[in-house]
Amino acid sequence: MYRYDEFDHAFVRERVEQYRDQVDRRVSGEITEDQFKPLRLMNGVYLQLHAYMLRVAVPYGTLSSTQMRRLAHIARVYDRGYGHFTTRQNIQYNWPKLVDTPKILEELAEVEMHAIQTSGNCIRNVTADHFAGVAADEVADPRPYAEILRQWSSVHPEFSFLPRKFKIAVTGAERDRAAIQTHDIGLHLKKNDAGELGFAVYIGGGQGRTPMVAKLIREFLPESELLSYTTAILRVYNLFGRRDNKYKARIKILVHETGTEELTAQIEAEWEKLRAGELALPDADIAAITSYFAMPNLPERSEGWALLAAEKKRYALFAAWVQQNVTAHKNPDYGVVTISLKPIGGIPGDASDVQMDLIADIAEAYSHDEIRVTHEQNLVLPHVALADLKAVYDRLAGAELATANNNLITDIIACPGLDYCALANARSIPVAQEISNRFGSAERQLEIGELKIKISGCINACGHHHVGHIGILGVEKKGAELYQITLGGSADNETSIGEIVGRGFEPEKITDAIETVVDTYLGLRTSPEETFIQAYRRVGAQPFKTALYGEPAKAA
């Protein structure tokens, strides 16, 4: 893992002191709310329905046990005993007092964490594949590049007041698990024919009220040019992105209105001016950052093969969990464990202080002190020996953390919605809970297979509904909640935006409607191997529309 150097420590501590002074001045009345609001937002402090909300950055989703324990401590001491892991691989606290937030940030700084740039019109937390460094299908670890981007973008003087927020994601594996095509910039690490590392560069993806899939603007960017090219993109966006209308201010609109070809030409022209300059990354610098992310020394644990086979035979629930929640590691003696934060009927992404402490203990004992946060609101133990899986499972199961539903229908993404969020129009969490309960049977979930449901409580789409195989968008209509269904979205290598199928459903009818969609899929799939999204792409929306709304009226 990356470790702060003296500069990082001093920088974060200085920011905490600045913020403490800002809070003091606000509370004393020296500055107004209009003056204070942008300052608190730059430190991740929002005001929501019931209280303030603090969003803490988890850079590219990587945490140590020490950091996780500190997150648990903050939940226990300053909040209500839990935190909420988000689709940006961050954690949010829902109940901190404003007057406590400087102390919280001070405690975070002690473990090399902060909340800088988790809000505002700046470059947000850079996200990465949550299986980075361990995935068997990986070309290279994306985290060193995400860390380079983090350092470069932190309080970048030119890019601190962009037209709108700006999100970057990096993946280094063949299979995109970081949803890069839904980002302002998506970077896909690859090797060229000469075996050199570089990136395929995508820009202009995004969700919100105008969802768009990112456009590929460069097939191969040498790794040394990461910052020069990113700077060129940001500079063109900063100059020409719209500032007259916040709903048209993201780079996706600039791409759309300018045209991909023209905008790419502008970016390339800007890059020509930059590429020979100081932004070129020396190999030694890349190597220095990369060394922080070296694979830990994993001892040979080949005894796990036979042990695991025997334990799977003996314990059916454990076998089901291994099947669903353990993924191949680069080292065949090890596995990558996904800890589900989606217990049946639970709140997606929430973890209690006790659970966080337990996960920290397990990571320390069994996963080389490392934990990941996924953008699908789960956690990951990246290096667990096969021989230790049963022990890890037993400890997780004792804390409701061993639900075997990774990538299944109850592994639902949901934003906080109207239960917490000041922007929301409808609740998300109760919808997720009811669907989870309806489809809670393990057998039924396995029969349905891979199916991603994503729920947002407003058009800002924090719950990624546009790219859910089944997406649900909560709206307010005549003072009541109503839920629109979209079908056919996905956020992988073949990213697509879901299509709205028709009129919305009342809260008491939405779960029945989802069941109708699922039953329709089960009835038309060619085999159990044909997943929901594959079937949808084969047959289109009409069979689902007919099932939901009846046959379309025939023209007279």
Partner: protein, 108 residues
């Protein structure tokens, strides 16, 4: 006219509060001063303008309510959730205190 109350979030901890009849900010909606006619509404609108400069609170706004079973009931779901707490965590927010009171009363 719809009944109205004045609500805000407390600056120091962000919790939802409502303006009481004595001009102080109250932690439960049932303690709110209710504007039932135009003259009272004008008074509440004046209070809203003044509260914009009150360092105790932020995000001051008027909301529509009605009376149901002796309690104030906001017409918008958003305001009902603010007044009670998250519908998915009944142990949190204002409702938790009510539930605790109920539990204590039952236990007594």
């Amino acid at each position: 006219m719809a009944l109205k109350v004045l609500t805000a979030n407390r600056l120091s901890d962000g919790i939802a509060v409502w303006l009481g009849a004595d001009g102080s900010w109250q932690e439960t909606i049932d303690e709110a001063f209710v504007a039932r006619h135009e003259a009272a509404l004008t008074g509440l609108q004046d209070a809203e303008k003044v509260a914009a400069f009150d360092i105790q609170v932020v995000d001051v706004t008027l909301v529509d309510v009605e009376e149901r079973d002796g309690h104030l009931y906001p017409l918008r779901l958003r305001e009902r959730i603010r007044a009670a707490g998250p519908t998915v965590r009944l142990d949190l927010g204002k409702q938790a205190e009510t539930l605790a009171d109920d539990a204590a009363a039952i236990a007594a």
